[in-house]
């Protein structure tokens, strides 16, 4: 079996001290294989967002390790960490986080700008990403003037523009109506299947989660259930994960 792209080992994360101490993650172990789609499901406050932040190297676990393609990420600091995040991950957020008054193109180019890609090259790649999401005609529009679906497609274009290995999607359809949400879902799963990009979706939407290869249920900072789509029973999968 190949090395998992992301691997969490007994990850714990707590906030605050003493009486105010709050354990967001209480020992989570999870392997994510390259190219799979995985849903992290839980209610608000379950720790699912914290797990995503730790996996995306935005937050450091209080204890435990996160390995990226077999390398312990604790050794990554400063510039190396920033570069790794920039090159490896793409982010899709429920609230879009588009700069309202900048053009769609500017927004999509942002990761390339941060990476230090030259002006013409980043424009070419951003336009290609927008083309892929059928938004090329909106490149010059201000982000604030887009519809919800167009906004989320811009966000996906922005996540794609760096050709990442992993896309993190935090409630990607949370702010969209059902029809638009379905389109955005299709786009994400197409990317997963056709381009082999690992897709990690954080959601409380069971229907969206059902389309993923695996569903990981989180409650009170612990993985309570892992369901492989259309294969093994939940019980055995959970046992496997716990053993790992």
């Amino acid at each position: 079996m190949t090395t998992p792209i992301l691997s969490a080992r007994d990850v714990r994360k707590s906030y605050g001290r003493g009486a105010n101490k709050f354990d967001a993650l209480k020992g989570v172990s999870l392997d994510i294989r390259e190219g799979e789609s995985i849903a992290i499901i839980g209610k608000s406050g379950s720790g699912k967002s914290t797990l995503m932040h730790v996996l995306a190297l935005l937050d450091q676990p209080t204890s435990g390790t996160v390995e990226l393609a077999g390398h312990d990420t604790r050794s990554l600091t400063g510039t190396a960490l920033n570069r790794t995040r920039n090159k490896t991950f793409g982010f899709v957020f429920q609230q879009f986080f588009l700069t309202a008054n900048a053009s769609v193109l500017e927004n999509v180019m942002l990761p390339l700008k941060i990476a230090g890609v030259g002006r013409s090259e980043r424009k070419r790649r951003a336009l290609a990403a927008l083309e892929q999401l059928e938004l090329a005609d909106k490149a010059k529009n201000k982000a604030v003037n887009l519809s919800g679906g167009q906004k989320q497609r811009s966000v996906i274009a922005r996540a794609l523009v760096n050709t990442p290995r992993v896309i993190f999607a935090d409630e990607p359809t949370g702010n969209l109506d059902t029809a638009t949400g379905a389109v955005v879902e299709d786009i994400l799963f197409d990317l997963n299947r056709e381009h082999g990009i690992t897709l990690i979706i954080v959601t409380h939407d069971e229907e969206l989660a059902a389309r993923c290869d695996r569903r990981v249920h989180i409650r009170d900072g612990l993985i309570v259930d892992v369901v492989e789509a259309a294969t093994a029973t939940p019980a055995t999968a959970t046992a496997e994960e716990r053993a790992a």
């Binding site: 967002s49 932040h53 995306a56 935005l58 937050d59 400063g78 510039t79 920033n82 570069r83 790794t84 995040r85 920039n86 090159k87 982010f91 957020f93 609230q95 986080f97 700069t99 008054n101 900048a102 942002l110 990761p111 700008k113 941060i114 990476a115 230090g116 030259g118 002006r119």
Partner: protein, 433 residues
């Protein structure tokens, strides 16, 4: 992120909240404008003083008088009569007369021998009776001294040639009309006659050519300035009939020193002259106190401008803090996408510097326009008696310094918000609603 993109982004972000940015720029503008005007005032007046210094004498020259043996302080009581003493030509405060001992040829030789003195020469002061052109009306006129290196402020023509053997003279522009010249240029090359009376009451007339027309200015009175040849001839004519001892007696001498010598060497030379019993004054010293007063006033005005700038810098802090607050999510996103804290700090402090640059460049630009307008308006009216004075003048170096200082102040003001942005935790920022 590349530096050029960082600067580009910072400039772009500056105009995202236009009203707020413009108000901040206005606050800085007021400070920079004031600073430019007050600085220009200092530059203008001091430049005028420098020109005047050049008109009063060369900068490698000092005027030397011999201290009279009975030159006691006025507070010591009445001064004993000394038949050889000469009432000093150097002006003191009204009500006092300075008395100096005569300088003889032997003294001149002694002066020339003092370490640091390049050359010493007696000042041959001439009292002219009148000046006349082409048989017209005779006018009284004073004769000013000229030493090589002096730069008279001329309306036309050129400086008198110290080396020329022909008789040359520069006349003040106040005499032009009365002598019958249409304008300054018309007078150049025309002959004039100067007359002196000697000790035997005989009047001597000497003809000279007008080589220049001088403008009245702060340090010079309306006197004709002859070249050395003419001055010597006038002095000889005036001295006709004096006996040898009277001839060899001058009130002042001019001493040349190395123009490259620094101020402390000049002071040392003056100390040595004092030890030998001579008083000495450089041209710079004559106007030095005046300059110090101007510098003091400009300093106070600049202090007010800097207070205005300080107030404006709090405006920058406020603007950028609001900006950081509004852009929390964006900062979080950029950090999540791998932008380092240093770059985030750079982005916000560059924005502050750019706001500072805009405020100061606009302030300095309009300051220059307003200053130029004011000084040309005043030059034609209130200050018309001081030709050559540009009240508010601008020096590119000091303008550049003002802009740089304002940008520096803006950078310092920007550090507080920029540090706050750089420290923002991406997870916290993205959670921000």
């Amino acid at each position: 992120m590349k530096s050029v993109d960082l600067v580009g982004s910072a400039v772009g972000n500056t105009f995202r909240s236009k009203t707020r940015t413009i108000l901040t720029i206005l606050a800085i503008f007021v400070g920079a404008f004031t600073l430019t005007i007050t600085n220009g005032l200092g530059t203008g007046i001091n430049r005028y003083i420098d020109d005047t210094v050049a008109a009063m004498g060369a900068d490698d020259v000092m005027t030397v008088t011999k201290v009279a043996e009975n030159a006691a302080d006025d507070g010591d009581g009445p001064r004993e009569y000394d038949p050889d003493a000469i009432a000093g030509a150097q002006e003191g405060p009204p009500g006092t007369t300075s008395v100096v001992a005569p300088i003889s040829s032997a003294d001149i030789d002694e002066l020339a021998g003092i370490d640091g003195v390049v050359r010493a020469q007696p000042v041959k002061s001439v009292d002219a009776d009148y000046l006349v052109h082409d048989g017209g009306t005779k006018y009284e006129i004073g004769i000013g001294g000229f030493v090589a290196g002096m730069q008279l402020q001329l309306a036309a023509g050129e400086q008198p040639d110290a080396a020329a053997s022909d008789f040359e003279v520069v006349i003040p522009d106040a005499y032009l009309e009365d002598l019958g010249f249409a304008d300054a240029d018309a007078a150049i090359g025309e002959p004039v006659t100067l007359a002196v009376t000697d000790a035997e009451r005989t009047q001597h007339e000497l003809e000279a050519t007008i080589v220049g027309v001088s403008e009245a200015s702060l340090g010079t009175s309306a006197s004709a300035v002859p070249n050395d040849a003419l001055n010597d001839a006038l002095f000889d004519a005036q001295s006709t009939g004096l006996d040898a001892s009277e001839l060899d007696s001058y009130a002042q001498a001019t001493v040349w020193f190395d123009p490259a010598s620094p101020a402390d060497e000049v002071t040392a030379l003056q100390d040595r002259l004092t030890d030998e019993g001579y008083d000495s004054t450089t041209v710079a010293q004559q106007l030095g106190t005046f300059k110090a007063v101007i510098d003091g006033i400009v300093l106070v005005l600049n202090a007010f401008a800097i207070i205005a700038l300080l107030a404006a810098s709090f405006g920058i802090v406020n603007t950028l803090l609001m900006s950081v607050q509004e852009r929390t999510r964006e900062i979080g996103l950029m950090k999540a996408m791998g932008m380092g804290s240093g770059k985030v700090f750079g982005l916000f402090s560059l924005e502050a510097v750019f706001i500072g640059f805009l405020g100061s460049a606009i302030g300095a630009g309009l300051g220059i326009l307003a200053g130029t307008g004011i000084s040309s308006a005043l030059g034609g009216a209130l200050l018309a008696d001081l030709p050559g004075l540009t009240l508010i003048a601008f020096d590119p170096v000091s303008i550049a310094v003002i802009i740089a200082v304002v940008m520096g102040v803006a950078f310092l003001a920007g550090t507080i918000p920029a540090i706050r942005a750089a420290r923002a935790d991406p997870v916290e920022s993205l959670r921000y609603e």
